[in-house]
Symmetry: C3
Subunit: 310 residues, 3 copies
């Protein structure tokens, strides 16, 4: 009786597994290539965490790094990053090469892009000291821009912004190198942890700071100058986007705004459109809705809401 029941349920699962398997191999909305798997989300997060830990040892994660061991720590970490990252980049390139269309995935020819993967990974590593220097300017801007910050180290150890901007400056290098998938997966790891959604395509000058960070969205073609400060909930987004004759969105057009040097944008403001420029030194008040350019040195403010007795 028990045996019959076990068999029956097992059969039930066999049928179900078969049905699901057919659907999955039919539409290939999955990551089950026989040889060339794309890296899953956790694998990408792991390499990203290693990259963050060579930029700022001892800050992220649980590993204790002493100054006397720093050289060894960096050497080992860099070797491990290069190995993983080379493979992940190569797989992403193999995958793109196999795609018949954005909607249809083929079977990636594994290894075709191995040397390119390793070259681009090495180039990213070579860029790390320069990235770290720019991040130093960002950290200073954060300390100076937030009265509640007690020291630069407090910013480094606790602000989600550090995670968000470090990830962005890394992912942006991969984006510029033309790598598919991977930079966006990295930025989504940071988005999940910090609430700030910065597309890896966005161009962001040094001395940048986002305070609090939750709900911030910065679009792919946004261009941000030096010394810009954003607060939580700010959107630098698209106003609308043209579609081709088949009704599909046209990709690759400048859709997001330009923010010039030393602009401040307060909480919940929304700035939209690829032709919208916020001029140098301007201040955008909280909850403002902006869809056309603002001249330099301008203050934009929402009206105060109406009040009445209960």
């Amino acid at each position: 009786m028990t045996h019959d029941y076990a068999d029956r349920t097992k059969n039930g699962l066999h049928d179900l597994a078969g049905k699901l398997g057919l659907a999955i191999t039919g539409d290939h909305l999955a990551n089950i290539w026989e040889e060339c798997h794309l890296p899953g989300r956790d694998a990408v997060a792991q390499v990203l965490d290693q990259l963050l830990s060579v930029l700022f040892p001892g800050v992220f994660g649980n590993q204790v790094v002493r100054e006397s061991e720093l050289g060894d720590f960096l050497l080992e970490s860099l070797a491990s990053i290069r190995q993983s990252l080379s493979r992940q980049i190569a797989m992403a390139l193999d995958f793109r090469a196999s795609q018949a269309s954005p909607l249809l995935s083929g079977d990636p020819r594994c290894g075709a892009n191995a040397s390119q993967g390793s070259e681009i990974a090495s180039r990213l590593l070579e860029a790390l000291p320069g990235i770290r220097q720019v991040l130093g300017e960002d950290l200073l801007a954060a300390y100076e821009g937030d009265p509640s910050a007690g020291s630069v180290v407090e910013v480094l150890m606790s602000y989600p912004f550090v995670h968000a901007i470090s990830t962005h400056r890394i992912a942006h290098e991969l984006y510029r190198a033309g790598i598919p998938l991977l930079p966006r997966m990295m930025s989504e790891v940071a988005h999940s942890r910090t609430g700030s959604d910065i597309h890896p395509g966005a161009t962001i000058g040094p001395g940048f700071f986002i305070d609090h960070g939750t709900g911030v969205v910065i679009g792919e073609t946004a261009v941000i100058g030096r010394g810009v400060k954003l607060y939580q909930g700010v959107t630098l987004g698209a106003l609308s986007f043209p579609k081709d004759k088949d009704g599909n969105p046209i990709k690759g057009i400048k859709r997001h705004p330009n923010i010039e040097d030393n602009v401040t944008i307060y909480a919940g403001a929304t700035v939209l459109g690829g032709k919208t420029t916020i001029g140098k030194g301007s201040v955008i008040g909280g909850n403002c809705w902006i869809t056309s350019s603002v001249p330099p040195e301008t203050v934009v403010m929402s009206e105060q809401a109406e009040r009445k007795r209960k």
Copy 2:
């Protein structure tokens, strides 16, 4: 001396542990049932992750799944899910049965709902192929609705929306089956990871897409048609809610809006009220505040904020 000190501090902790223990067993704001524990947050997250991985193998988590092993992977995963989920459902039902009131928990009679738990778990598994098909329409809507998406696979591998809507379509099945606690715990796992807070009670048509997703709130009794697109920070919420004669909120009333087919709602807009309907094809601009119905094919826009020189 050291010994005295150790004893003294140990005694200090004994007293403190005793005081905390008394408080905990007194108000039962804890999950310490002798036999019938509710699943903790991590246990629920684990089953949810398994469910996501049979829908889209290789996408979430670190496990590599090859097409040739797909059948075995699915069969083993489904068996493991059924076992865990049956137990979690049964415990949630046992717990509810033991509650003298929403404020007072009794001691669950363990095992009373074992067969119902296993039946409902099996029914959820049977629903997975259908859920996956609807999710395919959501993925396509995301690709078509976002110019920065390079391919459907990029959406699948990186967009937080995929996690949010997949979790919702699973949790909604459990909600409809009348399971307490569990669906809400699942939706909060997704909320924590994606920033989108979709109540498991919400009814959502196919071809749905939330871009960016941080700060989106969709209430329990919201009803959303086909092909609806939301941006970050959109609230579909309650306007206010009636209380009974004792001042307690009356539960189970329609409190959240209806959003008809092909509506788009931009970032930070707030739509409130159970009698509020946004008509077919309408567009709600960013940061708008809506508390009454909007006819079909209507555009609603905030005013631009006032500008002045600094």
Copy 3:
């Protein structure tokens, strides 16, 4: 040939590791002290999780706790917390003592603050029963304030608010004791998981509730009365802040608003300024922008957005 290649790439990494190492030891934007490491983010998260689990056993994490084992569980957890927390507090104090300026870190003299660390850790533990009692009032406020909550236990098991406010009430004790770094690191752990960014300095009365929670920001010097309810996306922030003659922000000024008893603030509203008080019993509507005081028993509402046919 292969050997040459390996050597060449190894050399490449040696140079790079050297360059990064020099930069790191030069600016000390890292946590690599020879003896006195600051706790990294994961270490702080671990102690915080233990603290949450003695407040509400069995709710967070995967560990099963039975009522019959509760005493042992609490005793062991408290001993482990005291040990870790004492060390973390001491390290944070050692670190601050070594700082020549907020921008310049010295080399902490390890152990100088060991006894203070252990004293403050013990004092925090002694405060836990009181903290738990206030949290009980918060849980009840959440149940009463949300019609979709089926029971107090549902709130406890699934609402992100529970994590956010429990963390805050712990971190606030450490903040009041003058501990640097640690309270802010704890609050950022909760921020990352819940989307609610509550500065450990904020003073918050009992019976508090934040529904949904994503995007909420509560500043360091905010003072919140009893029975206050906030929704997602609410900011209690600074309007602007004075700078000293060198252009640095002046720290330690009252910059954030006062919210009196029984105020409700709906989604996306922004209340700014240290001299802004929202009077007792007032209601602030969604998306409102408030930079001056509101009298008691007042309703503040945004205007409905303009509508037109497409």
